[in-house]
């Protein structure tokens, strides 16, 4: 079966084509019918004319027969007259032979004439007269014959002379003449009839033949024209069909055309591919083989519907069914049916079949994702609310219900403004300058602190985190809403504590000031006046007095150093640190200037590497160098003190400073202790000191984010190390 030869596949205009065909057929029928009828009529008329003609001829012949018979009778009668006269004159019996023969002839003629004129009553009426006259004549003749034989010639002559014979003969002749003229009249009539019939038949034959030929010619011309038209239409159809096939093959979906019986009558290559059959394997097969359910049922009318209705009702888009491949595997399909009327095959159905495995899988994936999303939503520790760009709540989790005190149904579809009065809805709506997406992109983010409102009207601080969500319904926004009441409280608590701490630090600072000013005042008095005492009265009182004054002066001096060191220490801790890009070498130079006296006294030698620029507080770094170098000089051994400051890279950013001396050295057990407050390793008489110097160093290094350490052995000198961040 090839498609091109199948007239069923007339796309689109198939209904019109069927109508054309039936009209054409009717035309042919009418043309031939009328031609035949015409010929029939002509034939009938001709036949009738022939019959009439034949009848007329019969009648003419009949009339002639009658006339002949009448003539025979007349001749017979005349012969009888002659024979009788001859016999009467001669008495010759030979005349009687002729007489007797003629008697028979007349009898026959009489019988014939009776038969022949049965159809004509007017002639029949005359026959008895004729027969009577004939009988009288014959009777008279017999009388004459008898008279001759008995009376001889004279008697016979007498018989003649009375004229009866003559009269009878005349009467007979007259009657025959009547009948002959009647027959001749009939003959004339019948001739006219026959001629007229013949003429009529001739005319009808001519006209009928002409008519028949005309109709046949007209029909032939018309049919020829129709055939031409039809050929053009057929060509057009073939073209359309070609296009339709092209369309069918070009369709991205599998296409199958099925008739009302559920047989596949056409398919495209995609259908072959999709179902794994070759074309020949599918053509003429039941569509149930490839679509087991739901398709064939649609083609069949049930008790309440016609096929067309069933189709109308059931045809449509997106019917999801299952397809079966040749190998038996199944796959989800979506079919779209559309009816196709064909003149000879009835209703056909075109089915576009789409393999929706991928879409199905995607749908399932989506459903799964949605399920997961819901799960995630519910599992979230925060209240979650999904809002559309109109500000309506489209989804929420149980935490949201709890947190705002509403039930789910009370919130779904409601405006988010009901639970977050300010700051959220505004973020969803585009203004004149921005699209919604832009507005969101700009405004979405973490940690937007707003206020939430519960069902009971109470408000609580929240932090929301917005993230956009592209969905099939448009842009949605997921808001994670965290109740930050507790955190807020904690924050407040922290702030309070910070305040307290700041205040206590301030107080500490105040203490430093008090130490520097108010404590120093009385100290200065004690120191000044004990010194004044010593200056003015030393050697003028007894030895004890001099001792006492000496201790007082010493105590006052130590107290002054202690206060100075404490002040320095507290300033390092309480004053803000001012980290700037400074030269560490310059800081060292400042320290050395401050140590000028000590260096000079002990003839110390302080050397250093070229020192780098660092991020540090200049005053504090100076203090640091001053204390470390000062210690190196102060705790010297018998050798004259030598201090060297070196530096090395530590990592990419740091500088490691080392301050190495050749002093007494420290036992490792004290490495930690020496950095504590008031920690001293020597007696007062050996070395003066408050035990605060290294604590200040530690504090300074720590304030710079570093760590100070010492490496030493008694008698081997000490090396103090600390790291600073290099300048950028």
């Amino acid at each position: 079966m090839t498609v091109a030869s199948d007239p069923a596949f007339v796309p689109g205009k198939s209904g019109g084509g069927a109508k054309d065909t039936s009209r054409w057929n009717r035309k042919v029928q009418i043309a031939f019918g009328s031609a035949m009828v015409t010929l029939l009529i002509v034939g009938g008329i001709s036949y009738r004319a022939m019959m009439v003609s034949y009848e007329s001829a019969q009648w003419v012949r009949h009339t002639h027969e009658v006339l002949d018979t009448l003539k025979d009778m007349l001749v017979g009668m005349s012969s009888i007259e002659s024979a009788i006269r001859g016999f009467a004159l001669t008495g010759n019996e030979d005349y009687l032979i002729s007489y007797r023969a003629n008697l028979l002839n007349i009898a026959e003629a009489q019988t014939a004439i009776r038969t022949l004129t049965q159809d004509n009553p007017s002639q029949q009426v005359q026959i008895p007269e004729l027969e009577k006259l004939a009988a009288q004549k014959i009777e008279r003749s017999e009388v004459v014959i008898g008279l001759r034989r008995t009376g001889g010639m004279a008697a016979a002559e007498n018989a003649f002379r009375n004229g009866i014979g003559r009269q009878l003969m005349n009467g007979f002749q007259a009657t025959v003449g009547n009948m002959q003229s009647e027959e001749r009249r009939l003959l004339a009539l019948r001739d006219v009839d026959a001629a007229r019939s013949f003429d009529e038949a001739k005319i009808i034959l001519i006209i009928g033949t002409f008519l028949g030929l005309s109709i046949a010619a007209a029909a032939g011309w018309s049919m020829q024209r129709d055939l031409n038209k039809r050929r053009v239409a057929d060509e057009h159809l073939a073209q359309l069909e070609g296009r339709y096939r092209g369309l069918l093959e070009a369709a991205p979906d599998a296409m199958v055309v099925v008739n009302a019986a559920g047989d596949i009558v056409l398919l495209n290559v995609q259908a072959e591919k999709q179902f794994g059959y070759s074309r020949d394997e599918l053509l003429g097969q039941k569509v149930k083989n490839i679509i087991p359910e739901g398709f064939a049922e649609r083609l069949v009318a049930d008790g309440t519907r016609t096929k067309a209705d069933a189709l109308d009702q059931r045809i449509g888009t997106g019917i999801e069914l299952s397809g079966r491949r040749k190998d038996g595997s199944r796959f989800p399909i979506e079919i779209m049916l559309s009816p196709l009327e064909s003149p000879d095959s009835g209703i056909l159905v075109t089915a576009a079949i789409r393999n929706i495995s991928v879409r199905k899988a995607a749908d399932e994936h989506l459903a799964q994702m949605e399920g997961r999303y819901r799960g995630l939503l519910e599992a979230a520790p925060d209240a979650m609310v999904v809002v559309d760009t109109a500000g309506a709540i489209v989804l929420l989790n149980v935490q949201a219900e709890k947190q705002f005190g509403y039930s789910r149904d009370e919130l779904l579809g409601q405006q988010v403004k009901n639970i977050i009065p300010e700051g959220f809805a505004e973020r969803l709506v585009a203004d004149a300058l921005r699209s919604t997406e832009d507005a969101l992109a700009q405004k979405i983010g973490t940690g937007i602190e707003l206020s939430g409102r519960r069902k009971n009207g109470s408000e609580f601080p929240i932090e929301i985190m917005l993230s956009p969500l592209q969905s099939a319904d448009g842009l949605l926004v997921t808001a994670a809403i965290r109740d930050i009441s507790v955190r807020k409280q904690a924050d407040e608590h922290l702030l309070l504590k910070m305040d307290e701490l700041n205040r206590s630090n301030e107080e500490l600072g105040q203490f430093a000031y008090i130490a520097s000013h108010d404590l120093q005042e009385p100290l200065r008095m004690v120191a000044s006046y004990t010194q004044l005492l010593s200056r003015r009265y030393k050697g003028k009182l007894d030895a004890d007095a001099d001792d006492f004054i000496g201790y007082a002066v010493d105590g006052a001096n130590r107290m002054q150093r202690l206060i100075q060191d404490l002040l320095t220490y507290s300033r390092v801790g309480t004053k803000g640190i001012n980290l700037t890009d400074i030269s560490s070498e310059k800081a060292l130079q400042h320290a050395l200037v401050n140590l000028q006296g000590a260096i000079g006294e002990s003839a110390a030698v302080v050397t250093h590497d070229p020192l780098p620029d660092v991020m540090a507080d200049e005053i504090q770094l100076t203090q640091l160098f001053q204390n470390l170098v000062g210690n190196g000089i102060k705790y010297h051994s018998n050798d004259s003190p030598r201090v060297h400051i070196s530096v090395a890279r530590q990592g990419a950013k740091k500088w490691l400073f080392s301050v190495k001396d050749n002093g007494l050295g420290i036992d490792s057990q004290y490495f930690e202790r020496i950095f504590g407050m008031f920690q001293r390793l020597h007696k007062r008489e050996e070395f003066a000191g408050t035990g605060i110097g290294l604590a200040i160093c530690k504090k300074i290094v720590e304030r710079h984010g570093g760590h100070i350490s010492v490496e030493s052995q008694p008698g081997q000198g000490s090396t103090f190390r600390f790291a600073l961040t290099g300048s950028e």
Binding site: Y513, S516, H517, E521, R524, M525, S528, Q531, R535
Partner: protein, 142 residues
């Protein structure tokens, strides 16, 4: 010619130390003492019992004063056209940066910390007197 020095100081110990320091100095220098801000203002404006007070050639001013703070006294001196030319030296126990800066902002002529050691104090006073009352040229007044 007698030089008048006004010491504005509430602490008697400091007053005495100052007096001790000036004892061995030029006898032509007369040390006057105001014990609080009010007295200082009265002395400078010759009010009340200070009607006959001399115009000082040099003022030593402590910052921590009862009644009227030393800074206010300094501000008053430097706002008064008849007094602003008098060299006014802040002499205080504090060496706080805030105080130093504030002192100079108020147009103190000099800021000195009181040394704890007696010897240092004595030598500082000798230096100051030598500089301001001997070496420095000051405007003449009637």
């Amino acid at each position: 010619m007698t030089r008048h020095v006004l010491l504005i100081e509430d602490n008697p110990g400091d007053v005495r130390l100052m007096q001790e320091a000036f004892r061995g100095a030029d006898p032509a220098i007369e040390l006057h003492v105001a014990r609080d801000g009010l007295e200082a203002v009265a002395f400078l404006k010759r009010e009340g019992s200070y009607a006959a007070a001399p115009r000082p050639d040099l003022i030593f001013l402590d910052l921590g004063l009862p009644k009227i703070d030393g800074r206010e006294v300094l501000a008053g001196i430097k706002e008064d056209d008849s007094l602003k030319a008098i060299p006014t030296i802040i002499l205080t126990a504090s060496d706080a940066q805030e105080d130093i800066a504030k002192g100079y902002q108020l147009q103190a002529n000099c800021y000195l910390s009181k040394p704890v050691q007696l010897e240092a104090f004595d030598s500082l006073m000798r230096g100051v007197v030598d500089f301001w009352l001997v070496k420095a040229k000051l405007p003449q007044h009637r």
